[in-house]
Symmetry: C2
Subunit: 247 residues, 2 copies
Amino acid sequence: MVTSRTELLQFVLRKIESMTRLDEDDRAALRRLPLRIECVPADYYLVREGAGASRCCLLADGYACRHKILRNGRRQIVSFHVRGDILDLQHLLFPIADHNVQTLTESVVGWVPSRELRQLAHERPAIGDALWRDTLIDASIFREWVLNVGQRDARERIAHLLCEFAARGHAVGLGSAQGFDLPMTQAEIGDATGLTAVHVNRTLRVLKEQGVIAQDRRQLIVRDWPSLARIAGFHPRYLHSSVLRAA
Amino acid sequence: MVTSRTELLQFVLRKIESMTRLDEDDRAALRRLPLRIECVPADYYLVREGAGASRCCLLADGYACRHKILRNGRRQIVSFHVRGDILDLQHLLFPIADHNVQTLTESVVGWVPSRELRQLAHERPAIGDALWRDTLIDASIFREWVLNVGQRDARERIAHLLCEFAARGHAVGLGSAQGFDLPMTQAEIGDATGLTAVHVNRTLRVLKEQGVIAQDRRQLIVRDWPSLARIAGFHPRYLHSSVLRAA
DNA sequence: CGACAACTTGACGGGCGTCAACCGGAGTGG
DNA sequence: CCACTCCGGTTGACGCCCGTCAAGTTGTCG
């Protein structure tokens, strides 16, 4: 578990440098950012829809998700996040949160005041571009999710979710060629794919019976990557990342 | 139909000023932007997925949508656009398009080289913030669409689509208290909501039978705004706009 | 070892997809 | 002026994917 300021900054730097070339002044400016580090438990609300938000949240370790809840209690998870991700960069320019951010597991986060981050983005164009690019990648992933829940059936949806999560985790050194940690429950997978927990369970069983995946506790083992990617129709271009698992 | 450079810039200025306060220098800089104006027919591809893109497209008049197509031919429309919208601001920082942009009707568009726009965003922070904010609003709308196709039933989905389209059109002076122009076909509504054209037709009939909406040619008449918004669960906060139709 | 959450499995029903036929208006050409 | 074509809209029959409800089972943590 990452707990020090230096380690957290390391992750953020790595993430930003994966998107833009920084010079030494950029790096120094990032290191000077006021950053409050906090360890939070699983299922902890980092941001609540409708609440004011004058700071941004960096995920240093653990897993998190963003979601919206309807009056009738139905919930849609709109993204999953791994360490290094910036969870709510929209608060750089919006004062009110339009969705919730919640941890999936025990996590370590760093808080940065929006004001400082915005000023940094203005003063150092390389950093501003990197942050902007990050929000654009977010948007691209949301588009893919609209496609996922709108046009694919249960098996394809879940396969796609697994491919994306594997690819994004892989980019920050999580998981291996065999598989990866799956921190979310079947109910959460359901909330992300527009399916019920029951149907997620049945669909995962099918994928296991077909020899595509296997599970051991919270580890998801991918027995057949090409099949999984083919079922999902996974083409990682939409991730706009230079560090990609081959499809 | 808008056709002059001045008129087009008028729309873009209005849009940007709805998001940020500009000074006279900002406005002058925007007016100096190199802008190639083009009139294009309906169903015209402005951007194709996978193609390189070194310019951004402003919609001056008409209607457009963005969509992704799967191998099996299924299509997901991820957004609809009205005049004043910037259609592909992601090309400011991404060289390759991850989705298609296509007109729905005969339209007038303006092309700006990414390079110039990016430079302007750097030189004039007010403009940079406004553009960034626009991409963040895009992302917020995508999140709402994930929720829409993931958690709502057919009637709610279509009602929500109509509410959003009305609100966004209203913000740029389209439509009236009675209703608005509906430029898309039922098949296109289906591609946007993850439904078939047949089921869209049946669902619209239900909304008409319940006295919520009516149709006269391409005009959609809203007989009962509160009911439509209630059915949709429409809360316009996610549009982050100061110019909003009351929910 | 008890409690609780997550997972698993079966029975049943409904919302929506699929297929197919038909209608109606706009544009086109004779 | 009228026939033809085509696209979009409309309606019905039928079936399946997935939701709902319910009853276990497994795993984990105190």
